[in-house]
Each structure stands twice: as C-alpha cells, then as structure tokens.
C-alpha cells in the first residue's frame, strides 16, 4: 500500500467517523417527529415576523428538503416574501439584532447588484433550534425559516 492509499484510507476513516458522530448527534437516538419540527419552525417564524410590523402574508406550506446533501432526514423550509419598497439596510440591522438577542449566531452578507441595488442577507444558526435567514433589497423581502431535522425523507412529501 503506497502513501497515497494510506492517506486516503486514513482520511476516509476519520471523516467517516466524524460524519457518523455528527449524524448520531443530530439524531441523538431520539429523532424529532415532523410535526414537532414544523411547530417549532412556525413558532420561530411567527416570532420573527412579529418583530417588524410589515405586511406579512399567512404562514405558507413548507417545502420538504433534505437535512444535508446526501444525508438522511427531512427538514421543512418556510419562505415568506413581501414585494414592497423597504429600507433593506435598516431592516437587516434590525433582524440581525433580534436574532442575536435570541442567542442565534448571525452572519451577515451583502452584495451590490448594480442597477438592481444592494442585497442584504444573513444566516442565523443555533444548536438544536430552527434556522433563520433573509435577503432584503429595495424591491422587497425574503424571510426563510428552516426547521430542525426530523425523521423521514423528502420523498415522503412528494405527491
């Protein structure tokens, strides 16, 4: 066995153990049921929408998706959008502070789209909680909430 093969096998073994450990931690032997994951996500979404008095739509039906590329489990992604002129920078600051205050790790980004203006976005993560993320621009708002990983598969939600 040459050095390359040894290195590769070693890498596979280490990463395999790490990913298995991550998966075990994710599932914890006590997997969340889909309804509970949805309830937690909807509660977080409503809480976030209540932070700013905007013309929010009704909570939509979520899209079922994988927990991670190639992984097991299902998560539910909620997207609410508003098409109206806003001050995206001000809104972004407001929601970032709101999520940080709730203990989430918030990472903001921005991108200048030229004639379409600047997009302000952020991801908000915390262990054992639903996710939040947004994209704000002068044209409108996109607010995402992703549920925790639940037992099942997105295939279970394909009609």
């Amino acid at each position: 066995m040459n050095n390359l093969s040894k290195s590769l096998l070693g890498f596979v073994a280490v990463v395999g153990l790490l990913t298995t450990a991550t998966a075990c931690r994710s599932n914890g032997g006590n997997e969340m049921q889909p309804d509970e994951a949805k309830q937690n996500a909807v509660a977080f979404l409503r809480e976030t929408m209540d932070h700013e008095p905007l013309a929010w739509p009704e909570v939509p039906e979520p899209v079922a998706t994988r927990c991670a590329d190639g992984g097991d489990g299902v998560r539910f992604q909620y997207l609410v959008t508003i098409d109206q002129k806003t001050d995206p920078k001000e809104l972004a600051t407001s929601f970032e502070e709101f999520w940080r205050a709730k203990g989430l790790d918030v990472q903001p980004s921005q991108e200048d789209f030229g004639k379409y203006g600047v997009a302000y976005s952020a991801t908000a993560r915390a262990d054992g909680k639903p996710w939040g993320s947004f994209q704000f621009s002068e044209r409108g708002i996109s607010l995402y909430v992703d549920s925790q990983c639940a037992e099942g598969s997105p295939d279970d939600y394909e009609d």
Binding site: R25, V63, A64, C67, L79, E111, S133
Partner: protein, 578 residues
C-alpha cells in the same frame, strides 16, 4: 420447392382472421374509452391537459388506420382460406382418381398377361384375340387418364403456389403494414433531407416500428439540420399548439426527440416525460420482482445473488422515482416557473436533466453541475438548491435564470462514504464533459442569443471545465465553481474555459473535502481561487460557508455554499442574473 396442395388448415387460417376481427373490436372499445376520458376531464386545465388533448386527438386516426389495415389483412386471410379449401378438395378428388386409375391399371396388366397367354395357346380363338385388343385399348385409356391426372395435379400445385404467393403479398402490402415493403431498407440510401421528409410523413405507429438505425440516424443529425427540419413540420410550435407530424415524432420516438439538439425544449420535455415515465414503471415492476425473488431465495449463495439484484433494483427505482418527481416537487420560488425535462438517457445508471424555467423563452439559462456521489436520486434536492438562487434573483429583478439541474454524467462515488478513489481521477469528468458540452450546445443551437451560464460544485467543476475548454462556440457568459475539486492542468487558467466571466468560491470547509480532493488528484488539478484568473466569490473564511455541501445540516451551525442568506448565494445569483 413445389407447393403441397394438401398442406395447411383452412379452419386455422379462418380462426386467425377472426382473431384479427376481435382485435378490431378491442381497438374500437379502447378508442372509445380514451375519448370518454377526455370528455370526463372537463375540470382539468393547463399544459398537461393540452398535452393529453393533443395526444387523444391522434389516437382515433391512428386507431382507424390500424383497423383499416386489419380489414385488409382479414380480407387476404379469408380469400386465402377459401382458396386453400378449394385446392385441397380438388387435390383429394385427383388423388382418388389417380388411385382408382392405378388399381385399374394393375388389374388391366394382370388381365392382359392372362389374355395374352391364352391367345398364344394352341386352342386360342378369335374371341381371345379380341379380348387382348380390348385390354390393350383399356391400358391405353388408363395411361392417358393417368397422364391427364398428373397434369391436373401439376396445375393444382401451381394454383396452390399462386395462392400462397398472393397471401404473402397481400399481408405485406402497404394497406396492411402501413409502409411499403422494403421501405425501411430504402431509408438508409436516402439523403438526409429525403430521409427526414420520409420519417416526418410516417404515422406514429409505423415510425415506432422502424429499425433502430432510423432512430440512430436522426439522433446523429447536426442541430442546425434538425432545427430546420423541425420548423418545416409546422414551425417551432408550443406545448399546446404544434403540428400532427411533430406530435407523431414525440409519441413514436421519445428517446430520440427528447435528447435531439435542435428540437425545441417543450417537445423534448414531452418526449422525455414519456420515456422517463415508462422507465419508472418498468423499474417499479422490476423492484417488486426482485423483492419476490429475494424472498424465495434458498441458500446462502442464492440469497447473496438475489440481494445484490434487489439492491440494484432499489437504487434504479430511487433514481427514476426522484427524477419523475421533479415535475411536481415543491419549490420555494417567489414567482412560479414552468419546468422542463431537458434530457433523459435511460441506461445504467439512468441520466438526465430537469429545468426550472422555460428554455425556449428564458433570457438566461444556467446549468447546475453537481459533484461526486450525485445521481438522478438527487434531482429534486438540486432543483430546490437551484430554486434558492432563482428566488434571490426574482427578488432583485423580478426575473430569474432558468436553472437546469444537470445530472447527465455518471459522477464518481462519494469517496468519504464509499472509499472509492475515482473522484481523484479525470475519467468520469472526461466522459461527462462530452455530454455536458453536447447539452450546452443544444441550448446554444436553438437559442443563439441566450445568456448561458454554468454553476459547478466540487467534481462538477472538473467536468464543466473540460467541457467549456473543449468548445469555445458555447459562448458561456458566467462559469461559477463552488468548492472545486480542481481544474485539470490542460485547462491552465480562466481564459482557457472560454467563459466571458469565471467566478470561484472556496470556503474553509470542515474536513477540507475540496482541498483534499485537489491535493490527491492524479493528474494534479488546480484550485481555481488561487492565481487562476477567476474572480473569487467571497466566503468570509468559515463565517458564512463552512462545509463542502451546497446545502447544510440544520442541526449544526453548518452553512453550505448555496444556503439562503449566504454570500456565495448572492454571488452566484448575481453572476447568473438574466
């Protein structure tokens, strides 16, 4: 070989004719049911209803053509049965007469011998001489009768041969087969233009029955020839409005039309959905069969074989099940977009591509090329990933690039999960690159002015770089790599990809998957974010993207390259904006 006038069973021939008549009744009943289904679907609307209506519209004429051909076949068989019956009756009469003649001849010969002996005796009389004369006359008559009967038999043999020829000719006439005898053979000798005209003139059921060489020849036509041919059949057409000839081609040759560059994507979509649905149904049946075989397997060796077959059947089913689900899976878009099954190649493994957005009209088209471990079983997942970019674009401008989830190559297995080292080599990328280049060329052929982009992840960037470097005529607007597994050394820099703009993102990934892939690549592959000439898409170190995946696990604090809210998502959306 001489025909046998007594061969065959006229009753059986009549029975075959009756069976064909029964088939006619079945076809009439089936056609009636299909027409009733259309009538009952009053509340159903949309493109799929249009497609169903169009298809149903072709069924009644096709059924009538088949019934007419069966009529012609029935008439031929009935005529043949009657002729065989008459010939057999006549043959039996002749054979009976020949037998009688033979017995009479023997009797005559015996009598002749006796009479001649008597006439030669010392006590012979004139009466004995007259008896010999009479018997000689009888012998002559019997010989003449035998000769006449032989001639009648020969004539009957000829009649039977003629009846056989008439039946064979009748059953192979165009009224029965719907195509001239030898027509398929003459296609090969035709020029491309004549060949395409002939093919377009065939009814669907005749077209579907043509030799594989016909399908292969169509598939090998240059896109510009195909485009001119297709347009000559009634214009570009739309899913709802197109010519009967175009519909016949979609229905009869879905595997060809679905992947034929130069054909509009609405037609490819309809053809591929037909092919994929058929493959899916077959895979579902094969899975059930494999499960049954496994359940009945006895002995360790038989169980091991059955288990491998079951695993393979399950994998194929999962791939096709997820691919066809791409037509209906939920997506988080701001404004809904149509979907098209852009390509489907049924093989081991099945490969394909699904678009969110109309490739016939979108102002921008982006191919999303996944990396190691991807297959058709991931279709809906990558469609959702692509739709996140599209939603971002819709928010900024109201428009979005059509995103094609391209699973058109056999990606190397995920080496972390399997230990398979194929991802470190170029074989899979080279094989996939030719198909990717062909599919991109298909868009370029039908949409010469469309903005064409490629977003490639991991090993997909290796594949895409080769495809783009090989064909400058693709005129790629933006080439985006995310967590690249490395660019081959014969593509030395961004300029060599011929893309007008090249962007590359490389996060500080946990476990350094992409970096590991590049480090151990053989031959060595370069990081496109390091002195390659690509514009770097910022990932802010590990702050916004920290894993190799495009979409990350929510239970961790992981962030994937195209998760909502990330810098790389915005950068990708901007790079592929219409």
């Amino acid at each position: 070989m001489a025909a046998d006038p007594l061969a065959g069973d006229p009753g059986a021939i009549t029975g075959l004719s009756s069976a064909l008549a029964d088939h006619q009744d079945d076809i009439r009943t089936g056609t009636h049911h299909v027409a009733s289904a259309l009538h009952d679907a009053d509340g159903w609307e949309g493109a799929s209803k249009d497609r169903f209506t169009t298809t149903v519209g072709t069924i009644a004429p096709a059924a009538q053509r088949i019934i007419s051909r069966l009529d012609a076949a029935i008439e031929v068989l009935d005529t043949y049965a009657e002729a065989v019956r008459q010939i057999q009756d006549e043959a039996e009469r002749i054979q009976a007469a020949q037998l009688t003649n033979a017995v009479d001849s023997i009797t005559n010969a015996v009598s002749m011998g006796s009479a001649q002996s008597t006439a030669a005796g010392s006590d012979a009389t004139e009466a004995d001489d007259r008896r010999v004369d009479r018997l000689q006359t009888d012998a002559g008559d019997l010989a003449a009768a035998a000769k006449r009967l032989d001639a009648e038999w020969d004539a009957l043999v000829e009649r039977r041969a003629a009846a056989d020829r008439a039946a064979a000719a009748g059953l192979t006439e165009s009224e029965v087969l719907g195509v001239a005898v030898g027509y398929a053979g003459t296609l090969a000798a035709m020029s491309d233009a004549d060949f395409l005209r002939a093919v377009a003139g065939m009814p669907p059921e005749v077209l579907a029955a043509q030799d594989q060489a016909v399908a292969d020849r169509i598939a090998g036509m240059p896109p510009e020839v195909v485009q001119a041919w297709w347009d000559g059949l009634g214009g570009r057409g739309t899913a709802g409005e197109h010519s009967a000839a175009q519909d016949a081609l979609i229905t009869a040759l879905p595997a060809v039309i679905g992947n034929l560059n130069g054909v509009p994507y609405w037609a490819r979509d309809q053809a591929n959905r037909l092919s994929a649905q058929r493959a899916y149904v077959q895979a579902a049946e094969a899975l059930v069969a494999a499960q049954e075989t496994y359940g009945k397997a006895v002995g360790r060796a038989a169980q091991a074989v059955a288990q491998r077959a079951l695993i393979a059947a399950q994998e194929r089913y999962n791939q096709l099940n997820n691919f066809v689900a791409g037509a209906r899976t939920d997506l988080n878009l701001r404004y809904p977009l149509p979907r098209q099954m852009v390509a489907f190649r049924d093989g081991e493994p099945p490969l394909g591509a699904f678009s969110v957005g109309d490739l016939d009209s979108a102002s921008s088209v982006t191919f999303l090329v996944p990396g190691m471990g991807s297959s058709l079983a991931d279709t809906t997942q990558y469609m959702r990933t692509g739709s996140t970019v599209q939603q971002s674009q819709q928010q900024m401008s109201g428009d979005a690039s059509a995103y094609v989830t391209w699973l058109g190559y056999e990606a190397p297995p995920d080496f972390v999960a399997t230990g398979d080292t194929a991802v470190f080599h170029e074989d899979s990328a080279r094989a996939g690159a030719s198909t990717l280049a062909a599919d991109l060329a298909g868009v370029r052929a039908t949409r010469p002015d469309v903005q064409l982009n490629v977003v490639a992840h991991s090993y997909g960037s290796t594949t895409a770089a080769i495809a783009l470097a090989d064909d400058a005529a693709l005129r790629i607007h933006s080439f985006v790599t995310l967590g690249s597994a490395g660019i081959p050394s014969f593509v030395p820099d961004a300029a060599a990809t011929h893309a007008a703009h090249m962007y590359a993102a490389q996060a500080d990934e946990k476990w350094g998957i992409a970096a590991f892939g590049r480090t151990f690549s053989d031959p060595h592959r370069a990081d496109p974010t390091q002195g390659f000439g690509a514009t770097e898409l910022q990932t802010d170190g590990s702050k916004t993207v920290n894993v190799h995946d495009l979409a990350a696990d929510p239970e961790s604090r992981n962030v994937g390259y195209l998760d909502s809210g990330t810098k790389t998502l915005l950068g990708t959306a901007k790079a592929t904006m219409p």
